[in-house]
Symmetry: C2
Subunit: 216 residues, 2 copies
């Protein structure tokens, strides 16, 4: 399972309501899945839980059909209620130990952990993977803070046994460097959600990642 | 159980971060419990899930010790993780049927339902009680809308078998009228949270409610 999970975390497409004029999150997400995205994370920071639930229901059907994973950001209850594969929580969200307590076996929990210390704590509390970032400068998250670079990815990856996913400012040009630093995969927002062609952008992002993750 | 639940819903003290200068929510909540409040609802609209979880953990210990119920507003995951008695969801929150799916037997679900139609839908989806309001004009909820009056409480109470709780602008002076209209109880925010003496305010609110609810 660990090798399989690692493989499916090589690219997480994180949704963003800001996905271009006249485009809907569900349509862009579907294009990403057609492009081969092995995982989606539904992130709706300013939406109500009801709206998040409605979109999560649509996406869980899409990801299941595509054989991809669906994570719901922050709202563990929504993730559980719609039957998503997991949830992603930040340091201000439900603590991972608390989330683990209410989740059934096999439910995946990702945790944002910017330092080796936070990553080790998340692993000890039961996280299945940690996200570290922003690796590069990003415009997608207003509160993301300064870029931590691939050196930080390497330090976090060395600190834990669970997979590490780099996030923040990831592009087709720099994605491979994040894996070289020790990450199992990358998470992207703008590189797919605001791409002119989300399907092609997903394929292009995956191309340089596949050979590396084949190492298992 | 239904009669017992109805009895414990006769006064729900809803927390508010705006609880007076130099006062903390946990302290005011404790005073309300000492004053006999049979139920608390933790409501933290602008807080992170982590902050809500931390305060919920404190309050669940307090309510258990006092033999009172603890509901968590909106965050069903937090309620489940801390072992609260239930959650209260609005029409924009996790749908009650979705919440019911992830909650263990006996977990209580309250739903805001301003009309007989919404109340019947909530009952059909598995709600244990409905909240209706704002009964009177209130300053505690910026988005509460126009007052619906006790006539609406009566109509909602006539439409469902589950208990109805009136909320919005409830004071010591008008609480009994809400029960006369058919409610099992009232929920208050400012009348306790911003009272000079929350302990005395709770006792005063309960006094006119007890004889009525003794009808069972």
């Amino acid at each position: 399972m660990t090798a399989e999970l690692r493989e499916r975390l090589r690219l997480i497409v994180v949704t963003d309501p800001d996905c271009g004029p006249g485009r809907e999150v569900a349509h862009v997400a579907r294009a990403a899945l057609r492009g081969g995205a092995p995982a989606l994370q539904l992130r709706m920071k300013d939406a109500s839980a009801r709206e998040t639930t409605e979109l999560a229901r649509i996406l869980v059907a899409e990801t299941r059909a595509a054989g991809a994973l669906l994570f719901v950001n922050d709202r563990v209850d929504v993730a559980l209620a719609v039957g998503a594969d997991g949830a992603h929580v930040g340091q201000d969200d439900l603590p991972v130990a608390a989330a683990r307590r209410i989740a059934p076996p096999g439910f995946l929990l990702g945790v944002s952990a910017e330092t080796p210390e936070l990553a080790r704590a998340a692993e000890a509390e039961g996280a299945d993977y940690v996200g570290v970032g922003p690796v590069y400068v990003t415009g997608s998250k207003a509160d993301a803070g300064d870029a931590v670079g691939t050196e930080r990815v390497a330090r976090v990856a060395a600190a834990v046994r669970i997979p590490v996913v780099g996030i923040g400012g990831i592009t087709i040009g720099n994605a491979a460097a994040v894996l070289h630093a020790g990450a199992a995969g990358v998470a992207v927002i703008g590189a797919v959600m605001r791409a002119d062609d989300p399907h092609a952008a997903t394929r292009s992002l995956l191309a340089p990642l596949a050979p590396l993750t084949a190492r298992g």
